[in-house]
C-alpha cells in the first residue's frame, strides 16, 4: 500500500512527463483539505476563514443561498479563482497533503488533477464529440495507448456512450443540453483527475437529464472525489455523503455554518439556520 504522498509524487511524475501513458496510471480518488480559506474580489472580503475536509470516495455538497461564496470556494479548490481580475485569496488547500498554492506548484498541473464541470454545458464548439473527450489529453500532451478505449471509457462513465457511440465525429454542440453536460463530465474524467468539482451542474438542465447526471455522480465517486455546489436541496440530499452549509448574513462575508454527514444535516442539524435552510424556510 502506497502512502498518500507516494501517490501524489507518482501522479506528478506521470503528468510532468510528456511520454507518460495514461493507461498505466492508477486511478486514485484524492482527498482535499482546505484550511483558513479567505477570498476577496477587488479588495472586498467575500469568504472568511473556511475550513473543510473533503474525504475521498465521497461526494461533498456545498449548499447555501446565492452569494454566500460556495462557487468562489469551489473555484479556489482548483486555482480557477485566480483567473478572475481582482480576485485574491488566503489560506491553504491541500490535495493528498500537498499544498496546491505552494510557489513551485503549477496551476495547470493542479487543474489537470482537480477537474471541473461548470454550471452551463461548455463543450468546445469547433471539436467533435471524440475530440472534446480527448481535449484534455491534447492540452496536456498526455499520450495514451488507445484513444478509442479511453473515449469509450470516459463516455461510459459519464453515461453518454450508448447515445453517441455511432456519431463520435459529430460536433459536440449538436447534443442536447443534458448530453452536452455529460460530455463535459466525460471530458473532465478523460484526464483521470483525482477530484471532480461540479458547479451547479444541473441548474440548466431538465429533470430527466438531472437524474442521469446524478446517476453518473453515484457511479464515479469510487474513482474520483466529487465536490458539488447545488441550490437544489433534494439533489444535495440524494447525491451527497457530506454537506457543508455556507451562509453570508447581513452583508458579512460568507462562511461555513455547519458541516456534517448529509443524513444528519437534513434530519437533525445542530444549527437552527441549517434546519431552516434545508427545509426551504429561507434562501
Amino acid at each position: 500500500m502506497m502512502t498518500t504522498s507516494d501517490v501524489t509524487t507518482d501522479a506528478r511524475k506521470v503528468a510532468s512527463s510528456s511520454a507518460a501513458n495514461l493507461g498505466e496510471q492508477p486511478i486514485t480518488a484524492g482527498e482535499l483539505n482546505a484550511t483558513g480559506v479567505c477570498a476577496w474580489f477587488s479588495g472586498r472580503l467575500v469568504l472568511e476563514d473556511v475550513d473543510l475536509f473533503m474525504e475521498r470516495h465521497a461526494v461533498t455538497a456545498l449548499i447555501g443561498p446565492s452569494g454566500c461564496g460556495k462557487s468562489t470556494f469551489l473555484r479556489i479548490l482548483n486555482r480557477m479563482h485566480e483567473t478572475i481580475n481582482g480576485a485574491q485569496l488566503a489560506g491553504t488547500v491541500e490535495l493528498n497533503g500537498e499544498d496546491i498554492y505552494s510557489p513551485n506548484q503549477r496551476a495547470t498541473w493542479v487543474r489537470r488533477h482537480i477537474g471541473m464541470v461548470f454550471q452551463r454545458p461548455n463543450p468546445f464548439p469547433a471539436m467533435s464529440i471524440e475530440q472534446n473527450v480527448l481535449a484534455g489529453l491534447r492540452f496536456n500532451r498526455i499520450k495514451t495507448s488507445s484513444k478509442a478505449d479511453l473515449v469509450e471509457e470516459a463516455l461510459t462513465k459519464a453515461g453518454l456512450w450508448t447515445e453517441v457511440k455511432d456519431r463520435l465525429s459529430n460536433m459536440g454542440g449538436a447534443l442536447s443540453g443534458g448530453q452536452q453536460q455529460r460530455l463535459c463530465i466525460a471530458r473532465a474524467l478523460a484526464v483521470r483527475p483525482s477530484v471532480l468539482l461540479m458547479d451547479e451542474p444541473c441548474s440548466a438542465l431538465d429533470p430527466a437529464s438531472t437524474l442521469r447526471i446524478e446517476e453518473t455522480i453515484a457511479d464515479i465517486k469510487e474513482e474520483v472525489t466529487v465536490v458539488i455546489v447545488t441550490h437544489n436541496m433534494q439533489q444535495a440530499n440524494r447525491v451527497s455523503d457530506n454537506c457543508a452549509f455556507f451562509l453570508s448574513e447581513n452583508g458579512k462575508p460568507g462562511h461555513i455554518v455547519e458541516v456534517g454527514s448529509t443524513v444528519k444535516m437534513f434530519s437533525a442539524p445542530n444549527d437552527p439556520r441549517t434546519l431552516d435552510y434545508v427545509n426551504g424556510r429561507f434562501g
Binding site: R111, R120, N122, F124, P125, F139, G173, A174
Partner: protein, 421 residues
C-alpha cells in the same frame, strides 16, 4: 369574442408560411399584415406628398434645388403617411408605419449611392471591356494604337503580388496583436489599442510617404515590395480590430473549460479560441485584404507604375490596378480616360470577387457549423460571431454582397435565446 379565439394558438404568427394548409375556419392572424390596399395607400400618399411639395416648393415659394425638394418630399410624405394611418388604423399602427417608413428610407439612402456607383462604373467601363483586358499588357500600346488593343494583366498581377505580400507580412502581426489585446491584456494593452485605433485613421498617403522616405529613397528603388510595405501598414489596424472583435465574442466559458482541463494559456488560444472564431477570422482577414486592394495613394510613391509585365515584386517598378485607373484618367486623350474607366471596372470585378469569396468562405463554415451542431451552443456562438462581425466591422461587405439583412427588424431574433441559461 377576442381575436385569439379565431386563431389557432398552436400557429406561431412568426411563421406565416405554415398557414397555407389550414382550412378557412382556422385562418391564422397576420401580425403586421401589409395588404394590397396598404400598398395602394402608400403609393397614393407618396404621389400626394409629391404634388403638394411641387405646388408649394416649386410654384408658390422661391425655393429651388433637387436636394431640398427630395428632403421636403420625404418629410411631407412621412407626416401624411402617419396622419392617414392614424385616421384608418389608429395611433399604434400609425407610429409603427411611421417608424417603418423612416427606417426603410434610411436604408435606401445607404443603398442608393452604392447602386449609382456600380451603375456608373459599368456604364462607363463596360463598352471597352473585352477578354484581352484580362490576358494582355500595355506593352507596345501607344497613343496611336487602336483603343481595343492591350490589357491590364500586368496590373492585375502587380496588384495581386503586392496585396499578397502585404497580407503575408501584415496578417500574422495583426492576429498576434488582436490575441495580445483580447487574450493577454495587461497594463499596456490600452495604449496598444489606442495606437491601433490611431493607425486605422492614418491617411493612406502618409503610409506611402513614409515608405518612400525610408525605403524607396535609400538604397532601394521603386518596387512592388515597397508598395506591399505601405499596404501592410494600412491592413494592420483593419485586421487587428476585426479579429479582436471576433475573439471578444468567443464565450469566456470555453476559455474556462480549457483552463480547467489544465491547458496553458497559449494552448487555450491555439486550440479553443482561434478554431471557435475561425469563420469570423477568415472573413476579417479577407476583408482587410480587399480593403488594401483598392488603395491608390501609397502606390504612387512606391511602385511607380509600368506599362509592361514585371512579375518580380522585389525589383523595378510594377503596375497596379488602382494606379492604372489614376494614371489613365489623368491623361488628356478621351480614349485613355475611357480605358481608365474600364480599368476601374476590372478593379471592381477583382474586389467584388474577393468580397464574394469572403462571404462564401465565411458562410460555408457557418453552414457546416449549423448542420453539424443544430441548435446547440456552438451554433449560437458562431452565429454571434458572424452577426457581430458583419454588423460592426464589415458593413461594406454586406452592402456589396446583398442588402437583405439591413432592413429586417427581426434580424436579432434567435429562437435559441429561449434557452433557460
Amino acid at each position: 369574442m377576442s381575436v385569439l379565439d379565431e386563431a389557432p394558438t398552436s400557429q406561431s404568427p412568426l411563421e406565416p408560411d405554415q398557414a397555407e394548409d389550414t382550412s378557412p375556419q382556422r385562418k391564422p392572424i397576420k401580425v403586421r399584415d401589409f395588404k394590397p390596399s396598404d400598398v395602394l395607400l402608400l403609393a397614393v400618399t407618396a404621389i400626394a406628398a409629391y404634388s403638394i411639395v411641387w405646388i408649394i416648393f416649386d410654384q408658390l415659394t422661391l425655393f429651388s434645388g433637387e436636394f431640398g425638394f427630395v428632403v421636403t418630399w420625404i418629410v411631407v410624405f412621412l407626416g401624411m403617411y402617419w396622419f392617414i394611418n392614424l385616421q384608418i388604423y389608429g395611433r399604434h399602427m400609425a407610429v409603427d408605419r411611421l417608424l417603418g417608413g423612416i427606417v426603410t428610407i434610411g436604408a435606401m439612402c445607404m443603398i442608393l449611392p452604392l447602386v449609382l456607383l456600380i451603375v456608373y462604373i459599368f456604364s462607363k467601363g463596360l463598352p471597352l471591356l473585352s477578354l484581352n483586358r484580362f490576358t494582355q499588357t500595355q506593352a507596345g500600346v501607344g497613343p496611336l494604337s487602336p483603343i481595343s488593343a492591350g490589357g491590364f494583366l500586368h496590373a492585375i498581377v502587380g496588384t495581386l503580388e503586392q496585396v499578397a505580400l502585404a497580407a503575408i507580412m501584415g496578417i500574422p502581426i495583426a492576429i498576434l496583436t488582436a490575441i495580445f489585446l483580447n487574450e493577454i491584456g495587461g497594463r499596456i494593452s490600452s495604449s496598444v489599442r489606442i495606437v491601433v485605433t490611431a493607425m486605422s485613421g492614418t491617411p493612406a498617403i502618409l503610409a506611402g510617404v513614409f515608405i518612400y522616405s525610408i525605403w524607396v529613397l535609400t538604397v532601394h528603388d521603386y518596387s512592388g515590395f515597397a508598395a506591399s510595405l505601405a499596404l501592410a501598414i494600412l491592413l494592420l489596424p483593419t485586421v487587428t480590430r476585426g479579429t479582436e472583435e471576433v475573439l471578444r465574442i468567443v464565450h469566456n466559458d470555453l476559455r474556462e473549460a480549457s483552463a480547467a482541463l489544465g491547458a496553458p494559456d497559449w494552448r487555450t488560444v491555439w486550440s479553443v479560441v482561434l478554431p471557435t472564431a475561425r469563420s469570423g477570422l477568415v472573413t476579417s482577414i479577407l476583408l482587410g485584404v480587399a480593403v488594401s486592394i483598392g488603395e491608390t495613394a501609397p502606390l504612387i510613391m512606391t511602385v511607380f507604375g509600368a506599362q509592361v509585365m514585371n512579375t518580380n515584386p522585389f525589383h523595378n517598378p510594377q503596375a497596379a490596378l488602382p494606379l492604372v485607373v489614376y494614371q489613365e484618367i489623368k491623361l488628356p486623350q478621351k480614349s485613355a480616360v475611357a480605358l481608365g474607366y474600364t480599368a476601374s471596372l476590372v478593379l471592381f470585378i477583382l474586389v467584388f470577387t474577393i468580397f464574394v469569396l469572403a462571404r462564401i468562405l465565411g458562410s460555408t463554415w457557418l453552414q457546416n457549423t449549423l448542420r453539424g451542431r443544430g441548435k446547440g451552443k456552438g451554433a449560437r456562438l458562431d452565429g454571434d460571431v458572424e452577426e457581430e462581425l458583419f454588423s460592426v466591422a464589415l458593413a461594406p461587405a454586406m452592402s456589396f454582397g446583398s442588402g437583405e439583412a439591413d432592413v429586417d427588424l427581426g434580424y436579432h431574433y434567435r429562437p435559441d435565446q429561449e434557452d433557460p441559461t
